[in-house]
Each structure stands twice: as C-alpha cells, then as structure tokens.
C-alpha cells in the first residue's frame, strides 16, 4: 500500500511543516488529535486523556498509510505526547519530535482574527486547527463584541461548541495556536474578567489544573469532559450561558 499521509498532533514547528510540505507535496495531512472514529485499540489505560487515546488509535488505524508523524513534545503539547512519540517509534512509525516553545515578545501584537470573529464557535475552533497546516490569512474576518468566552483545547466532542452563541471569543491553547505561539503560557492563560468564560478541559489532561485555577480566578465555569459530553454537562453549560 502506498503511504500518503503526513500525520501530526498539536502544532508542529512551522519550519518543519514548511520543509515537509516541500518534501511531500502530494501528501494528505491528518491531525491525529481529532476523533475520526478509529477503533479503540485499548492501547492505553481506560481512564486516560481522550486526545492522547485519539493519537494512538488514529495512528495505529492509519499505520499502513502514514509516511511519518510530526510529534510536538514540548510545552506546546504535553508530557503524554512525549511518551507517545517514543512508544510510537517503538511501534515502527517514523516519528519526528518537535518543540515549538517560542514565547511571544509583544502580546499586544498577536494576530487572532478567528478567535475574535463572529463565526460560530465550532467553526472557529475547526478553522484554527485546520490552519495549523493551511496557514491562510483570515485578517479579513471582522471582530465581534464578545458576550462569552471559551477557554481550552479543541474538544473531542465538538458538539458542546454548538451551545455557545457566535459572540464567543476563543481563549486558551486554541488562541495560542492561532497566534502562532502554542507554547506561550501568557497567551494560553489569558482571559478577560469582563467576559463570562467557560474553562473547558478534557478529563485526565494536565490542563485541568490550569482550567480549574483560571475558572476561579476569572469567576468562570470549570468544565471537564471525558469522551463525549452527557446531558448534564450540556445543561450545565446552557445554564451558565443563560444565567450570566
């Protein structure tokens, strides 16, 4: 079988993406973080971060087609990704470890038109992750006056994003990714006291620590979800959005 996929997770270093695009101009790029309904191969313990599970399940499911995996392992991703990169190497993948920890020197100059736009929240998050590879310019998007904030990573269950109004600003890792600084702690932990914000995290992710802390600090709502959001989680989000 011909291998035609460049797989990645997180936000691989920009130069590496550029170099790989030149080297494999016809390759299809697959974000292993995203749930593509690959079979659960039970490679990890039952109670583990679903995003890391996705990375394994997707990689092993697509193994015959994957040329190589670009694997962020630094502060821009997490320790679990470092362990995964080493384990997947042992499983026979070509894995290129990358770190993308550059810090933004002037926070006032970050360019985040998608995060601040009036697009539906789900579309915003999907566009931000898609743009890791596409690198298109979205500066034509007009900013909206935010009514709410969403802080966090792209959820495994994207349906929770449909509960938010379009006037929702994006914070957290997604915002840092759009800004081009996925490992910048200041961008990732930025929130606005005047914008009621839901601090989302995947259960068993180390970012739970940040989400809980920031929810208290900014008087927001802390939400952690494992695989899929149940009715109570959705109702909790709805209530926050209605009562605030």
């Amino acid at each position: 079988m011909t291998k035609n996929i460049i797989a990645f997770w997180g936000y691989p270093e920009k130069e590496l993406i550029k170099k790989t695009k030149i080297e494999y101009p016809k390759a299809q790029w697959v974000d292993l973080d995203i749930n593509i309904n690959a079979p659960d191969l039970k490679f990890l313990p039952e109670n583990y971060c679903i995003i890391i599970k996705n990375m394994y399940n997707n990689a092993l499911f697509l193994k015959d087609k994957i040329i190589k995996i670009l694997a962020p392992i630094g502060k821009d991703k997490c320790d679990s990704a470092y362990f995964a990169s080493e384990i997947l190497k042992e499983a026979g993948f070509e894995v290129i470890q990358t770190t993308f920890e550059q810090q933004c020197k002037n926070l006032n100059e970050i360019n985040i038109p998608i995060s601040k736009s009036s697009l539906p929240l789900k579309e915003k998050i999907e566009l931000i992750t898609k743009n890791i590879i596409e690198q298109k310019d979205y500066s034509h998007l007009k900013p909206t006056k935010p009514k709410f904030g969403f802080w966090g990573v792209p959820p495994n269950d994207l349906s929770i994003l449909e509960l938010f109004p379009n006037e929702t600003e994006v914070f957290g890792w997604c915002r840092a990714v759009e800004a081009g600084y996925p490992g910048d702690f200041q961008i990732e932990t930025f929130a606005d006291k005047n914008i009621p914000t839901i601090f989302f995290t995947q259960a068993f992710c180390s970012k739970t620590q940040l989400a809980k802390y920031l929810a208290n600090k900014y008087d927001g709502l802390f939400i952690d979800v494992d695989c899929n959001a149940n009715n109570s989680i959705k109702a909790k989000i709805e209530a926050f959005l209605k009562l605030r």
């Binding site: 008087d219 709502l221 149940n230 009715n231 109570s232 989680i233 109702a235 909790k236 709805e238 209530a239 926050f240 209605k242 009562l243 605030r244």
Partner: protein, 216 residues
C-alpha cells in the same frame, strides 16, 4: 389550562393552572407518557427537549429567586443528580451540577428503603455518618454494618447524613441553603444538613414554580 412539568428520572412534578387555580401533583415518571399532556413549559431529564423545554438550573434559579436574592444557595437534590445555584447581590454568581455519579442521591435512598423494608419516617438523625464520596462504597458500609447487627434504619440514616454532608461540601460550605426536591420531605436529611448550615426546605415544586415565573 397552563401545564408546567418537571419530569425527573423517578418522579414527575406537575403544576396545573386553570382559572387562576393552582394544583400540584407528583406522579411516577413512568406514567407521564400515558397522560398525554402538552406542557406550557417543561424541564427535567425525562422530557423530550422541544421549544417549550427549559434548563433545570435556570428553572431552579427562577423558582427560588426570592431566596437567592437573599443570598441563600438553592440546591436541588434529585433521584440521579444534584445541582445548585448561587446569587450574590441579586446577580448570578456560581453554580454546579454533578454529572457523572448518581449513586448517592434520591434513587439510591429509595432503593435502600425498599431493600431493607424501612419507612422514610422511621429514619432518625445520627451524629455519625458514612463517608460517601463514592456512593458504592457507602452501600458496602451499610451492608457490612447491618450484617454486624446494626439496625438498617440506623445504617441508612448514617448514609443520609453522608449525603447531607456531601451536599454541604458540594455547595462549597455555605452559611445558608434552600433545598428543593424530594429530600425536603426527608426529616432525617434536613436535620443532618442543619448540623452544618441554616436550612430552608422549599418543597418539591420549585422547578415548576420557576417555569411558571419564567412564563410571566
């Protein structure tokens, strides 16, 4: 006729208003379908979400508004979950909704009462409580103690004290709390909660009253 429905997992609470006359009833949720009611507004886990559906915490906040505005916390302890809402200076401030484990809520207590053939009114306040952060472990303790000779009604009372303590901790240790839901009728539970804070039981119909208030 206006009809407001709070369809919980086990019990459904109904408010009917005809010619300004209010009537309340509680029926098993399993019988709700047979009544073929068209609600003016509805809430609860067991209702189909249509245009007239309202979120449970929002209904709770509206039903308990005057107490919330007096800086009480409103807590609804149901068959399968527990949720609360808090206002400060007449504005929404905080809320939470347990969304995973239902092993230490109303349905478990009802099952225990049936299993040990104990009546709710026979439960009595006990100083001791089981630690029931996990309800399943709590059940194990009841079974151990009962097999060692403890009266089932005392064991269940200790379990209920554990639920009361959990409710207090879950709401972040408030000074005063309003209780909504079936536990209002459980004297043992109310007495246990009074060990920790001031308690006002609001009854089982807070959510349907909230739905009505939202319609106004």
């Amino acid at each position: 006729m206006e009809i407001y429905i709070d369809a919980g997992t086990t019990w459904t609470k109904i408010l009917k208003i005809k010619n300004n006359e209010k009537s309340y009833e509680v029926i098993p949720t399993s019988k709700l379908k047979n009544l073929n009611l068209t609600p003016t507004k509805a809430t609860g886990h067991s209702i189909i979400k249509t245009n007239n559906y309202e979120n449970e915490v929002v209904a709770l906040a509206n039903g308990a508004k005057k107490y919330l505005e007096d800086n009480f916390i409103a807590l609804d302890l149901g068959s399968r979950d527990i949720k609360w809402v808090k206002y400060q200076n007449k504005k929404f401030q905080d809320m939470d909704w347990n969304s995973s484990c239902a092993s230490a809520t109303g349905a478990t207590v009802e099952m225990l009462l049936k299993f040990y053939n104990v009546k709710a009114e026979d439960l009595i306040f006990t100083k001791e409580k089981y630690a029931i952060t996990c309800g399943i472990f709590g059940l194990e303790k009841i079974m151990d103690d009962v097999s060692n000779g403890l009266e089932p009604k005392i064991a269940i009372s200790k379990f209920i004290h554990g639920i009361a303590y959990n409710a207090f901790a879950f709401t972040k240790n408030p000074d005063k709390i309003c209780i909504s839901g079936g536990f209002c009728e459980n004297k043992c539970f109310i007495r246990c909660l009074e060990e920790y804070c001031k308690v006002i039981p609001l009854g089982r119909f807070v959510l349907v009253d909230g739905l009505k208030a939202m319609t106004n």
